[in-house]
């Protein structure tokens, strides 16, 4: 029953008779769902790293004692970093063209960049298997053009992993960067031109520095997401490209070792949080000059 709309002639005390349940309670179903099925199990998993088989740091000690695992951790950071760099190298000109091009250009490029969001990673990984295998289209082209003598191993190695991951992660750099670039006031470039800067110099001295925060934000996002990636390295990578996520899967599914899995999860989440924290500190200082 809602609070009754009472004519103002009645004393104020009477209007407070029935208080409607606060609308805020509507958040409860979602919150309960997330607490029970997400927050609790994740916390439980992270806790297991310290509590299984006994309380202590034994799981972490074990992790750092085995070079295999350390190598996987290192690989994860390396691969994620390379992904971020590649995405930045490809994504910057792409976002720049989107931001400064015609409406049609923007729509075409925007559509292309959204396709990965809507299409299944499995389908795309499968497509890369078809393309990158020894008898696949890419090798056919390379051999046909005489650029290679034997089929180049493009899959089940670092190349395949990166090719697959960059395709998936590119939108995560292009979209934030684009929305940042679009807010750069064109007047700065016009002013630079009147002060004697050729288009190239205007770009290097003015546009590029102004676009850095957007690029950094996008690259960081790509890096963080790549850290936790599972499907692409599993399908397209080789043994030397194993990433943390695959380790976690092994520990749970093959060995049932929740302690190890928990420790790895702690490292993964911790690393993600660290990167977020560091980049936020580094780049909020720069916002002092965002007079845009």
């Amino acid at each position: 029953m809602e609070s009754v709309v009472v004519p103002h002639i009645l004393p104020a005390a009477l209007t407070k008779r029935r208080k409607a349940p606060h609308v805020g309670l509507l958040v409860l179903p979602a919150i309960l769902l997330l607490l029970v099925l997400f927050a609790y199990p994740v916390a439980w998993l992270l806790l297991r790293s310290f509590s299984t088989p006994t309380w202590g740091w034994s799981n972490f000690a074990w992790l750092f004692a085995h070079p295999v695992y350390l190598r996987v951790l290192l690989n994860t950071v390396l691969i994620s970093g390379t992904c971020a760099l590649c995405c930045a190298a490809i994504g910057y000109p792409f976002a720049y063209t989107m931001a400064t091009g015609s409406e049609r250009t923007r729509q075409l490029l925007g559509f292309a960049v959204l396709v990965p969001f809507w299409t299944s990673i499995l389908v795309r990984s499968f497509a890369w298997i078809v393309l990158l295998q020894r008898a696949g289209l890419i090798n056919q082209i390379l051999l046909g053009l005489g650029l290679a003598e034997h089929p180049v191993p493009l899959i089940y190695n670092r190349v395949g992993t990166l090719v697959g991951m960059v395709q998936v992660l590119l939108p995560f750099l292009v979209l934030p960067l684009y929305s940042f670039l679009v807010r750069i006031n064109p007047i700065y470039l016009r002013a630079a031109t009147t002060l004697g800067a050729s288009p190239a110099r205007a770009f290097w001295r003015i546009y590029l520095p102004l676009s850095m925060p957007g690029l950094m934000a996008g690259s960081t996002l790509v890096f963080i997401i790549a850290l936790g990636y599972f499907i692409t390295p599993a399908l397209l990578g080789g043994a030397g490209d194993t990433m943390v996520a695959q380790l976690i899967q092994q520990e749970v599914a093959n060995f049932g070792n929740w302690g190890h899995a928990g420790a790895l999860a702690v490292l993964l989440l911790g690393g993600t949080a660290l990167v977020l924290f560091v980049t936020r500190r580094l780049f909020s200082a720069r916002d002092a000059w965002s007079v845009m």
Binding site: A20, F38, F126, I129, V130, P186, A202, L235, I248, A253
Partner: protein, 276 residues
């Protein structure tokens, strides 16, 4: 362009950019086109380009019970998931508008957490929980897990739309005598309906494509299409996967068009109603 008409856009920089963008578009979209073409190949292997064409891969799909069963499972998960996620997320989005800013921030932080936390961690965590609740390998378990995963996406979509609705509209309805739930149903809901439907579509696609969590909590008896594909790809790659992939792409394309249509409706309606 930004520098005005002083230059024809054929500077070396612009040419290089066009090449990069063109190649990138091929890189983003090309492989998918290849998969679609491949699905019509008559060959037994994954040779591309195909020399002959046929529908035999699609016939495989229909004949093989593995694909049929897993497809049905996927759909049986997708629909309840999308409905549940949309209901819960819409309620949460609407409710959190009435909370204090700090509380609202906490709520949205929790709801958005599954997007931030790597899927592998969520997967392992839920698997551990379901082991104790004996929910692994059950349809109910899969639905619950998918709901948790898709909820944040719907929340984002609906929240954004709610923020754009003029709060005075609801206030006006209340002063005109409408109780809160009527004001919501007759005034707010119609205005955010495009976003709600869009979120619903998005939830369906995310659930249908979900692999990592499903991988952990499925069993050979109860598994969605994606898990079936996964085990197939890891085994020996059967070109039938091309046909499935094409179907998945079709679903995705359909959803993408649906989303676009929803956005067009939204824009047209906003022009009529003058809502921000």
């Amino acid at each position: 362009m930004i520098l005005g008409n002083a230059w024809r856009s054929l500077t070396p920089g612009a040419v290089a950019r066009r090449i990069i963008c063109g190649l990138t578009i091929c890189y983003l979209v090309g492989p998918l086109i290849i998969v679609v073409v491949l699905s019509f190949s008559a060959a037994q292997f994954l040779t591309f380009p195909p020399t002959a064409f046929s529908f035999h891969l699609y016939r495989n799909l229909l004949d093989d019970p593995r694909w049929g069963d897993s497809f049905v499972t996927s759909v049986s998960i997708m629909i309840p998931t999308a409905l549940a996620a949309t209901l819960a997320a819409t309620a949460a989005a609407y409710g959190s508008m009435r909370l204090s800013p700090r509380l609202a921030a906490l709520v949205s932080g929790l709801i958005l957490a599954p997007i931030v936390v790597p899927a592998i961690i969520t997967a392992a965590a839920i698997y551990g929980l379901f082991e104790r609740l004996q929910l692994n390998g059950t349809l109910a378990g899969l639905i619950l897990a998918h709901t948790v995963i898709t909820l944040p996406y719907v929340f984002i979509t609906v929240s954004a739309s709610l923020k754009a609705v003029d709060p005075r509209l609801e206030a006006a309805a209340r002063t005109l005598g409408a109780p809160l739930h009527t004001a919501f149903r007759r005034v707010v809901l119609p205005l955010i309906m495009p976003a709600v439907l869009s979120g619903l579509l998005f939830a369906m696609v995310v659930s249908f494509d979900e692999l990592v969590v499903s991988l952990f909590i499925s069993t050979p008896e109860v598994r969605p299409l994606t898990v079936q594909m996964w085990s197939d790809i890891l085994g020996d790659v059967d070109p039938t996967i091309a046909a499935i992939s094409t179907l998945l792409l079709g679903v995705a394309l359909f959803a993408m068009c649906g989303q676009h249509a929803v956005r067009l409706i939204l824009r047209a309606r906003n022009r009529i109603d003058g809502v921000a």
